[in-house]
Subunit: 270 residues, 2 copies
């Protein structure tokens, strides 16, 4: 692999995944990953543009940002690209009225959306709300539609809580796709539109940007397909086998966000 | 399409699906489909061999047969090919100790199976037991195994209860496959081994047999891939679009089991 200086040349903007990079969620809110609070602060003091790009869909942006601020992070709502607000925009543009299968924590994001007489289903990482009854209701709504539309906030396989690996929305999306014989529309990483909206928010071109995430497929693979570079951190849901993934090869693997920021600040703009 | 006499020529044995063909399950046990009790009785009095071939995995064979007998059907345990007993045989042959994600009603089938220190996961149509917690536990067991083995009792998309369409095990199998990055082994229709074991039990060759079911893919497509003929009934989970399925074309479509038996008794052995 080329030297770091070469791999990082021309980087002007950084997209940061949140869960598994900044912190691990869990009981009581979760815990900051060692060194990440300082790493974010150092990035923000650097000439690099920074945007947070998350598939978090259990919490509203307000709740997420509040939690991160309590953990010590320098972050505000306006700096976060998240799937729920992006979904609301799509629903309004297309006149879609959703049946929601989501976590209570994110419901407030949909406060001004018309949900009468649903003509689509929106699913997100619903956690315990992924009961058989709720899944079956979403299934029945889709089966009753002439043109069933299923929107999934991300398609993650799993994420890491402080207590261990947890099933993410992706499997449940696949379950409804299979049962209904349809294909979901994904809002969130690795959808190119989602990465692009994050880049637009900081005025950085894909070839000038680098994604830092713990998900080899959703973060690293997705960003690379958009023409960005991407680093995988060995925190969060990282597993050693990710470094030998059959389809995706990161532009670099680092122990954690702190190491990624060390490298960026050392080699960028030199 | 050829005349019925031609399509049914040489049939010596009949495989009957149970749910959606004999009865619709539901609150209080369910209800026999009109004409099916008499149709089974007439088949049994005919020269045709009869075997019941079901993916039922919420109930033990004993419970299922007891329910059907109470609805008036002439059926005994020894006449039923079902996935749970077939799975137990596989577990024993391969030294597999399952973590079970199944309905309580079928648990007794696994009474003599070693479940200590699990080295595989077995899922079946678990209904309400498909909670997030139970799915997550199955996921975690698989992720901890070096060579994860997932056995699914059938892979049905949905079935029909008296109250409406209900999600079957297939979606949940897909969810675990996706989350773990593995491929499940299916025991039950449309697995060729399963159809073959049903045929062996009545000593009939595939080309001499006809399957009657309500599932265009699992019953009709699966049986045809084994060299059998297959009829789809317009009861149970049948939907009008099944008659224009992009991949599977039944050897005939009939309103219900009674019509199928009328045709068989009229045209077979002439």
């Amino acid at each position: 692999m080329a030297a770091w200086a070469e791999r990082l040349t021309g980087v002007r903007g950084v997209l940061l995944d949140i869960s598994g990079v900044l912190y691990d969620s869990g009981v009581g809110g979760g815990a900051a990953i060692a060194g990440s609070v300082e790493a974010v602060a150092r990035l923000k003091r650097s000439p690099l543009k920074v945007r947070f790009c998350t598939n978090e869909s259990q919490k509203s942006r307000r709740e997420l940002v509040g939690l991160l601020q309590r953990l010590g992070f320098d972050i505000s709502e306006g700096e976060v690209t998240a799937p729920a607000p992006a979904t609301c925009q799509i629903l309004k543009e297309r006149g879609l009225r959703p049946h929601l299968l989501i976590h209570e924590g994110v419901r407030s994001e949909f406060d001004d959306i018309d949900m009468s007489n649903p003509n689509c289903v929106v699913i997100a990482d619903a956690g315990e709300a992924f009961s058989y009854q709720n899944m079956n209701r979403a299934f029945q709504v889709l089966m009753e539609l002439e043109n069933p539309v299923l929107i999934s906030l991300g398609k993650g396989r799993y994420y890491k809580e402080t207590s261990g690996l947890m099933l993410d929305v992706g499997g449940y999306m696949k379950a409804l796709e299979y049962a209904c014989g349809i294909k979901a529309e994904v809002v969130g990483k690795p959808s190119p539109e989602f990465f692009k909206s994050a880049l637009q928010a900081i005025g950085v071109e894909a070839h000038q940007a680098i994604m830092i995430g713990d998900d080899i497929v959703g973060d690293v693979g997705g960003a690379q397909q958009c023409g960005m570079r991407a680093l995988q951190v060995r925190t969060g849901k990282f597993r050693p086998s990710d470094e030998h993934h059959p389809e995706v090869r990161a532009d670099g693997y680092v122990d954690n966000l702190a190491e990624a920021v060390d490298l960026l600040l050392k080699h960028v703009n030199k």
